[in-house]
């Protein structure tokens, strides 16, 4: 028994982080922010070579057959780099959706393509998973109609996978007849949100799970853990930058990190942020290994890390003074990463509400 990472996990993390440090410089972020579509072909290609899209795809379908914890480590590294690529939906939730809800045939048709990185899946939920905005989806046979706002990872997706309120999911090809996607630059310029509408579009319906709602929620939960991990990475980056800045910037003839006010601000950040790392690991591990606690972990980790991310990103910005507020350092990309993660798939309030219901803590009236 141990609570920690394996040697392989560390090595993979090192190589992923080295790749990202090399290939996602701030100039790339700035370029990507112009389009805001959350997709850089060159970075994507490199990540495919590292095997990122197939992390969770079973080996028999050409993936690495790893677990949600491995994916969470990658999500943290991507958040740390503010990498403008699809991941939480495309590389984590979608493969899990196929594993949980697709027929054998559907799995063998699509999973190898996900693992190879040739299929990228944008995802949206109607009526579950903390959906906000409009959502009116209906299925007639395999014909999908209606609209849903705020799809994740859909900027340059080849496919779109949408969940209906009853837990069924429908997969369509982007650009197929009756499918339209309006990509909108989000406050986080590294990842867009996309509004989808469908008119009698032909879809593959994923409905092979015994308990379709439970299967759908497992997908939402894994996504929540990914977003928490992304926030952890982004907030850690901001803390690292703030510490480095505090050791350099001089005022009143001293480096500002020697002032207790600044030192204590940074101590506050690390005190709230560091336990989030173990929490994310635990929550991710729970998705695969602790079925009775998996939902509670997912809801609570999303809520807690979302709150910590908000505080930490604000305080780290403050430590940079006026520089933190400008575009010159680009620190705001990470602030916005936290902002995006917090709202997507349900903010802390929504997630705690679910955590309360899970435990039977019902409100009066």
């Amino acid at each position: 028994m141990r609570f920690g990472l394996t040697e392989e996990q560390r090595l993979f993390d090192d190589s992923l982080r080295a790749f990202l440090a090399d290939r996602v410089p701030i100039e790339t972020l700035r370029q990507q922010a112009q389009t805001g579509r959350g997709f850089d072909p060159a970075i994507w290609q490199g990540l495919c070579e590292l095997g990122l899209p197939g992390l969770l795809v079973p080996e028999s379908y050409g993936g690495a057959g790893l677990g949600v914890l491995d994916a969470a480590l990658s999500a943290e590294a991507l958040g740390h780099a503010a990498a403008p690529i699809p991941f939480a939906a495309s590389a984590v939730m979608a493969p899990l959706a196929f594993a949980n809800s697709a027929s054998r045939d559907q799995q063998s048709e699509f999973l190898p393509r996900i693992a190879a990185g040739e299929m990228r899946v944008g995802m949206a939920f109607a009526g579950i998973g903390g959906q906000t905005g409009d959502a009116t989806l209906t299925l007639q046979g395999n014909r999908l109609s209606g609209r849903v706002q705020g799809a994740l990872d859909a900027g340059e997706a080849t496919h779109l996978l949408v969940y209906l309120p009853d837990g069924r999911a429908a997969l369509v090809e982007a650009g197929a007849n009756g499918v339209s996607a309006q990509v909108r630059r989000s406050v986080d310029r590294t990842r867009p949100v996309t509004d989808l509408s469908f008119e009698n579009a032909e879809s593959a319906v994923l409905d092979a799970a015994n308990d379709r709602m439970a299967a759908a929620l497992r997908v939402v939960d894994a996504g929540r853990v990914m977003l928490a991990a992304d926030t952890l990475g982004a907030a850690q980056y901001m803390l690292d930058q703030a510490v480095a800045w505090a050791k350099e910037r001089v005022q009143f003839g001293r480096v500002i990190g020697s002032f207790q006010g600044v030192k204590h601000t940074l101590a506050e950040i690390v005190t709230m942020l560091e336990p989030c790392r173990a929490f994310v690991w635990h929550a991710a591990y729970a998705q695969d290994a602790l079925p009775d606690e998996a939902r509670l972990f997912a809801c609570q980790v999303k809520a807690h890390v979302g709150d910590v991310g908000r505080e930490a990103s604000r305080m780290a910005t403050e430590v940079h003074g006026g520089m933190g507020f400008t575009d010159l350092l680009g620190l705001h990309y990470w602030f916005k990463r936290c902002t995006f993660d917090r709202q997507m798939l349900g903010g802390p309030q929504r997630c705690r509400e679910e955590a309360a219901r899970l435990q039977g803590w019902k409100l009066a009236g």
């Binding site: 028994m1 609570f3 030192k263 101590a267 336990p275 790392r277 690991w281 705690r352 409100l363």
Partner: protein, 403 residues
């Protein structure tokens, strides 16, 4: 990562539950009064040590159970006791601070003499660090120990000494080399509180109980062999103890026990005829706390694994005291708000829920101050954990701190 309750852990869980079914009625009340432990508490402690549910990893030759460190074993045991609301045994300055210190830097004789009786609850310790002029700036202590033949002669005064009014022994930080720079002139000495020349005067605290004391030393003679490590190394030893103290003060097991009690309290307590758990303001505070406790529990599991691997956890360890004591205080604050006006009657000698809530609510502030206050913790986290520069010294001897 492997937290599966497979094989031996399931067996251990069954074993602990069976133990609790058979012996649980002998347990003292959980979170009971902080005073001289009674016979029931001491008997319970011996039973736990015998079965390896307390002092589990202390080597057998020193009276422990001699198990290999195993995070999940510890968690399985803690959880079984918490779910049954049964005491997990004594946690005090001797067991949680002095014993690990001796195991780390004590001599063979010192370990043999003190570890066994301490973990069994037969020997109680107090910590002689703070003085009226030396609190946060601990390295400035003035209590003197002068070597006379093969004995130290101690003179001076300590203050805020918890449990000194019933402790058998003290670990004392004193000055043996006044001519040396302040951190290098200290020694760490173990002495019996029965030694002639020691006077203990209880100080009543804000809880209404006498939890700590002033201790006066007048020509107190202590064998020179009672020193831990050697003369001038007291600051190092004192910091070994502080390391354990700070982990003990932010213990996440205590949070789990309190979380269960809070859930129970909110589910059973009513205001204007409605259960607190059905009211969003109460429920939401509990949910937030639950998330924080989950984070600190996971963090503790991670630290324990690193400890078992012999890894120095650095900043991860340094944040425990500050983060843990602040969360524990927020938990007792919610308990006080839950018992509400009906919880205001207060007699510190009682042990009912409302008194316990109010007692924790005050005592937890003491935990925030003791063992190095939050400000000092934040200095340590910033300087040692994040590598930030120290405050410039205003005068040569003024800096330092309980660090």
């Amino acid at each position: 990562m492997d937290l599966t309750l497979s094989g031996k852990y399931e067996a251990l869980q069954a074993e602990v539950r069976a133990f609790i079914r058979e012996h649980g009625h002998k347990s003292p009340k959980v979170g009971g009064p902080r005073r001289d432990p009674d016979q029931k508490t001491r008997d319970w402690q011996k039973l736990l040590v015998e079965h390896g549910y307390a002092a589990r990893t202390v080597p057998r030759e020193y009276g422990g159970f001699g198990a290999q460190p195993d995070v999940l074993e510890a968690a399985v045991i803690a959880d079984a006791f918490a779910e049954a609301n049964v005491s997990q045994g004594l946690a005090n300055q001797g067991i949680s601070m002095l014993v690990p210190t001796l195991l780390e830097v004590g001599t063979e004789e010192q370990r043999r003499a003190y570890v066994g009786p301490t973990i069994r609850g037969d020997m109680f310790w107090c910590q002689g660090y703070s003085e009226p002029g030396s609190g946060s700036d601990l390295a400035s202590v003035q209590t003197r120990a002068v070597l006379d033949g093969d004995e130290f002669v101690v003179n001076g005064q300590k203050i805020w000494t918890s449990s000194a009014h019933f402790a058998d022994m003290m670990f004392l930080l004193c000055r043996t080399e006044p001519e040396m720079p302040k951190h290098a002139g200290l020694s760490y000495i173990l002495l019996s509180m029965k030694t002639p020349g020691i006077e203990v005067r209880p100080l009543t605290t804000m809880t209404g109980r006498a939890e700590f004391n002033e201790v006066f030393f007048t020509d107190v003679r202590v064998p020179a062999s009672q020193i831990v490590m050697s003369r001038g190394q007291g600051w190092h030893v004192a910091n070994v103890t502080l390391k354990y103290e700070r982990l003990y003060l932010g213990d996440a097991n205590k949070m789990s026990v309190r979380l269960r009690k809070l859930v129970d309290l909110l589910q059973t307590t009513e205001i204007d005829g409605e259960k607190l758990m059905a009211l969003p303001e109460y429920r939401d505070r509990l949910l937030r706390i639950q998330g924080e406790v989950m984070a600190w529990r996971a963090h503790q599991l991670r630290l324990r694994t690193e400890q078992a691997d012999g890894v120095d956890s650095g900043v991860k360890r340094l944040i425990v005291k500050y983060g843990g004591t602040m969360l524990l205080w927020r938990m007792s604050a919610l308990a006080v708000d839950a018992v509400g006006a009906a919880g205001l009657p207060y007699d510190p000698s009682e042990t009912d829920d409302a008194t316990a809530a109010n007692l924790d609510y005050m005592f937890d502030i003491g935990m925030i101050i003791g063992g190095g206050s939050s400000n000092i913790q934040k200095n340590v986290i910033g300087e040692r954990g994040l590598g930030l520069p120290r405050e410039p010294k205003t005068q040569p001897a003024a800096a330092g701190g309980r660090a």
